[in-house]
Symmetry: C2
Subunit: 381 residues, 2 copies
């Protein structure tokens, strides 16, 4: 798999936030870029998100990420530390601080070990051509594996990396995802395409309904491979981000199965997404999938709790698992065994057709297991 992109360099290292594993990475561009970025809407967003939001989102020259400490709720000192990290990355990239995106993920309310960090940042080796596999490893928290996806579009390559929702120390961690490409895409188009893709991918995934203070996603294009077909680029970017989102959901805390909920026949896509999220976030649906139980009653309950949607009528709704209908045609005993077998897969598709119009949306999540409880209850801050 391609893990390099023309026009980008990177360095990763260990600066004393975590013990003995890489905890910092910077990816920087050799020349001008077009770029787009989106951030958490949390009211407790930390200084990394605040600085990045205030800076440029187009023309990003560097993305610096610290893993193991979110630098959130750390007051004036946290802001000063984030500025120092940004200044370091700007110097490394040879750009303005406003052209650096800063992200940080991990424990909340604890300042960085800034003296150690300062010392070690100063002695990091020179940057080399970007190695996005190494960067994907350096941004991990409780992820069990690095997440890298690449696709080609025309003569260009798109490489996306992500870290999922996991716990560390044990405050909530964060979804971070960065996509690099050498395609040449005008800034306005890149922003439009990225927002559309984010809506269908990063905004369509949930592990536990808890929004991090630090969620950040960005795409940076060096343009070195020249222009590409825009529709092809959007399709490839959607593909990259969809794969990353599936990886995030599959690797959700304690998860044993990916859940994909495909809602069709809705009034519009917005309604389809609302219903999909109600199903994929329902603890009763999540535990049923964990128990490999084709419990369509719980899916019906979750659809039913979208009480604002007065055009949903039980008599028009169809529910299926992996193409096997369970409502209104209840499963025969034979079909039942088939369903139980299907529910044992690594990836379960739940299909809900609302029978209203042609709106559709697919959302992603994971099952709820005792592993989730163990990770999040048995570890003490």
């Amino acid at each position: 798999m391609t893990t390099s992109v023309a026009g980008f360099a990177s360095v990763t290292g260990s600066v004393g936030v975590k013990t003995g594993v890489p905890d910092v990475s910077v990816v920087h561009a050799a020349g001008p870029t077009t770029s787009a970025a989106v951030f958490t809407r949390s009211r407790f967003a930390g200084p990394s998100v605040r600085l990045s939001r205030e800076g440029e989102t187009d023309g990003l020259r560097a993305v610096v990420v610290v893993s193991g400490n979110a630098n959130v709720a750390t007051g004036a000192r946290g802001l000063a530390d984030a500025r120092e990290l940004r200044a370091w990355a700007a110097e490394r990239a040879g750009c303005e601080p406003a052209q650096v995106l800063v992200a940080s993920t991990g424990v909340i309310g604890v300042p960085y070990p800034i003296e150690t960090m300062r010392e070690r940042l100063a002695t990091l080796p020179a940057s080399a051509p970007v190695d996005l596999d190494a960067v994907a490893r350096a941004i991990m928290t409780t992820d069990t594996h690095p997440k890298v996806v690449s696709r080609r579009v025309g003569g260009a390559v798109i490489v996306g990396i992500a870290k999922g929702v996991g716990m560390i120390e044990p405050n909530m961690a964060t979804m971070l995802s960065f996509v690099y490409t050498d395609a040449e895409v005008p800034a306005a188009e890149l922003d439009r395409v990225f927002r559309s893709v984010v809506e269908r991918t990063y905004n369509a995934v949930s592990v536990d309904t808890d929004t991090s203070t630090s969620d950040t996603a960005a795409v940076v294009a060096s343009g070195l491979a020249g222009p590409v077909d825009l529709a092809g680029f959007e399709a490839a970017l959607l593909d990259v981000c969809t794969e990353l989102v599936k990886m995030i959901a599959s690797d959700g805390e304690g998860a044993s199965r990916l859940i994909e909920v495909r809602v069709t026949g809705a009034r519009d896509d917005v309604q389809a997404k609302l219903v999909g999220k109600a199903v994929v976030n329902s603890p009763l649906v999540k535990t049923a999938v964990h128990g490999a139980d084709p419990n369509w009653g719980r899916v019906a309950m979750a659809v039913g709790k979208c009480e604002s949607e007065t055009d949903i009528h039980e008599e028009n709704v169809r529910i299926a698992f992996g193409g096997l209908e369970t409502f209104p045609t209840l499963p025969t005993p034979e079909r039942r065994s088939e369903l139980e077998q299907y529910l044992k897969s690594d990836s379960v598709l739940i299909e809900v057709d609302l029978g209203i119009a042609t709106g559709a949306f697919t959302v992603y999540g994971c099952d709820l297991t005792d592993g989730y409880i163990r990770i999040n209850a048995d570890y003490t801050t």
Copy 2:
């Protein structure tokens, strides 16, 4: 504890829905009543809720409850069965079918064993003066104990019963709560007072964010004890329903601790409730409480995810557990041990002050444990 109320009779029995335990109950009034009732807003509400909603909510003469089968998503046959049950209760109470409230809780998508039920209903003993302890037992599903609370107001008594959110067979069960009183309260006042109390109690509790298809709450007043002070009545009714709600949350599936989230300093009560629900429903907060971890970072995250509330600013927010502040004044090591001790109680109070104005609201929930996963995943439909 008083478990009887002048003007009401009851009978409980076993009609073949569950095995060997009471699964049906009817409470009926000797004469006219005033009453009020509220129902689930689920789009998959079953025929019991639909019949009850279409019938009278004032002047109820009987409440009949089946536990062990929700009679939901059972089509035309389910509607016919619900009508038959209602007709039986009307005959027993000597009233019109429209004066009967029908509630049913348990498995979804499976018809009643109506032949057995018909036979056994016909042979139930005569009704006796109401025994609300026996009725509370007969409406239980996975509740670990019956829930009955009584209070006096003037010369009258108010007795409330409830069943909590538990699983059966394992589709979601339901919150049912019925309050009987011999106070004389005009219908319009009773409706207003009950709705106000419901908003602060039944609508302020959550075990797992999943809304049942069958939730029902009602208050029925025989008036035999004569008029009472209305403010005193409302206070006593609030007290009864608050206690029932705390019992429901404490007895939530797998729960080991009651969580009470008190939000103050909000723009208004509506904002306080929104924030409180975000905190009490957060899986990360729920697992932290299960692990007896005073993890204020997760509370901050949950407050932060109320992204629509742009008047919430980190610098004005205070977070405490049981009166012990954790943010912005971070706990000293000594305070920290105190907090950890406190978090081991059966009931944990989380206090969030938003520092905006004087809006306030308290919500109730429970911790999230491996018991919840076990109940809901390891049992197969």
